[in-house]
């Protein structure tokens, strides 16, 4: 009886200890990335290559899904706004919800599952096949050579992708609202313009997406770097990347929204 309680409490304690250890390790990993990014200024080609794999290859999924998100927003928003006779505010609804929330968050979720998993799998496999150890033996710092370029590529790509998502989404809302339903073209844009503000809405959305970019990149790289060096370990790490970064995006989004848009 007593020993069961002892072991149960001990199990909780061990999990907390391991959790804190992982958190500390991830933080040190993050700091190490920042400290060893200096070399990239001398070799920008490394970031360029990663920008292609992380950013350019994510564009298609971002554009297609944002177009549909915008069109659905347009349809649903119209149905509700019509009841109150304010269907001219459809542009405002679509633009505000995309710039403030949907743009950064959905782009972040898509980015985590499209690019984050690729990063984790790649780095995890490099670790499994002992490429990272080989680099260390050759006196090449794997964090500076492998991790840092991917980190910066993610941080640069995310705001650009979020901006593309928002812009295409608004275009999707325009397609449904003006082209399909037949709202007035002028009111759609002018109402949107008077309601959306560059600093308060657009810039805050971009800041959000940059924060998500940092979070996703660090999580994806850390999971890959920390993965068990087996096929199963890499699979588990890839799954954890999606789960953890999705939760991180949603949690961070709440915190950032509370700071940016209160009152």
């Amino acid at each position: 009886m007593f020993s069961a309680i002892y072991r149960g409490v001990g199990g909780i304690g061990r999990r907390v200890r391991e959790g804190v250890w992982t958190l500390g390790y991830a933080t040190r990993f993050f700091v190490a990335i920042l400290l060893r990014s200096g070399d990239l200024l001398r070799r920008p080609g490394l970031v360029l290559r990663e920008l292609y794999y992380v950013g350019v290859l994510s564009v298609i999924i971002i554009l297609v899904s944002s177009l549909f998100v915008g069109m659905v927003l347009g349809l649903q928003g119209y149905e509700t706004l019509k009841i109150y006779g304010s269907d001219s505010a459809l542009g405002v609804l679509v633009a505000l919800s995309l710039t403030r929330e949907l743009g950064p968050v959905v782009a972040g979720l898509l980015f985590a599952s499209r690019a984050g998993t690729a990063i984790t799998a790649e780095v995890g496999l490099m670790k499994t096949t002992e490429q990272l150890s080989a680099m260390e033996i050759m006196a090449v710092d794997p964090i500076a050579r492998v991790v840092a370029p991917r980190f910066w590529a993610g941080v640069i790509s995310m705001p650009l992708l979020a901006a593309m998502f928002t812009a295409t989404g608004i275009f999707g809302g325009y397609l449904v609202g003006v082209v399909l339903i037949g709202l007035d073209d002028g009111t759609f844009w002018s109402q949107m313009q008077s309601a959306v503000e560059w600093h308060h809405d657009v810039l805050n959305g971009i800041i959000k997406s940059a924060v998500f970019g940092v979070a996703i990149s660090v999580i994806a790289l850390f999971e890959g770097f920390d993965a068990q060096p087996t096929a199963e370990g890499v699979a588990l790490a890839t799954t954890r990347t999606v789960v953890v970064s999705s939760l991180a995006i949603l949690g961070l989004d709440f915190v950032l929204t509370a700071f940016m848009f209160k009152g």
Binding site: V59, S86, L160, Q193, H199
Partner: protein, 159 residues
């Protein structure tokens, strides 16, 4: 992959992102030009501000000339203290009056400035003396009912 093709695609990606940002800046949003550096603050007391919110526009003759910067409650006079930030380009006489109006039937509320005839202008930190509160729908209805009842009463008194 060849370096040239890589450069091309990354360049296209960055250009696309910047184009999206430009689209958001020019077509979707307005850049709020009223910042602390090129504006001055004036205050006004209102009995009732209705649904006025911070960042609501301040208009004169229908043109946006500033924004509502701060709304607070004056516990001594039991009035709402509203701080307005007006663009430096626009100067108003010191006896300008401020009223809270609604755009459209159910639209947002804004502060309307009606210029007076004073030779001196409003400066940073000065106070607008003449104000008109927001119209509260319930008060309007009760006034209407009261007037109707009074008319009826008068009609009975003099048959």
């Amino acid at each position: 992959m060849q370096r040239g093709i890589l450069d091309f695609w990354v360049g296209l990606f960055v250009i696309g992102g910047i184009a999206a940002l430009l689209f958001l800046a020019i077509k979707v949003s307005t850049i709020n030009t009223v910042s602390a550096s090129n504006s001055y603050a004036v205050t006004a007391d209102f009995n009732n501000i209705g649904g006025l919110k911070v960042r609501a526009p301040v208009k004169s003759a229908g043109v946006v000339v500033g924004r509502v910067a701060k709304i607070s409650f004056d516990n001594n006079k039991f009035e709402a203290l509203v701080t307005l930030r007006l663009d430096n380009r626009y100067q108003f006489p010191a006896d300008t009056s401020a009223s809270i109006l609604t755009s459209g039937l159910l639209g947002e509320q804004y502060v309307a400035l009606e210029p007076g005839g004073d030779t001196k202008n409003l400066a940073n930190g000065s106070k607008i003396q003449i104000t008109q509160s927001a119209v509260v729908l319930e008060n309007l209805i009760s006034q209407f009912i009261y007037n109707k009842a009074q008319e009826k009463g008068a009609g009975h008194a003099n048959p």
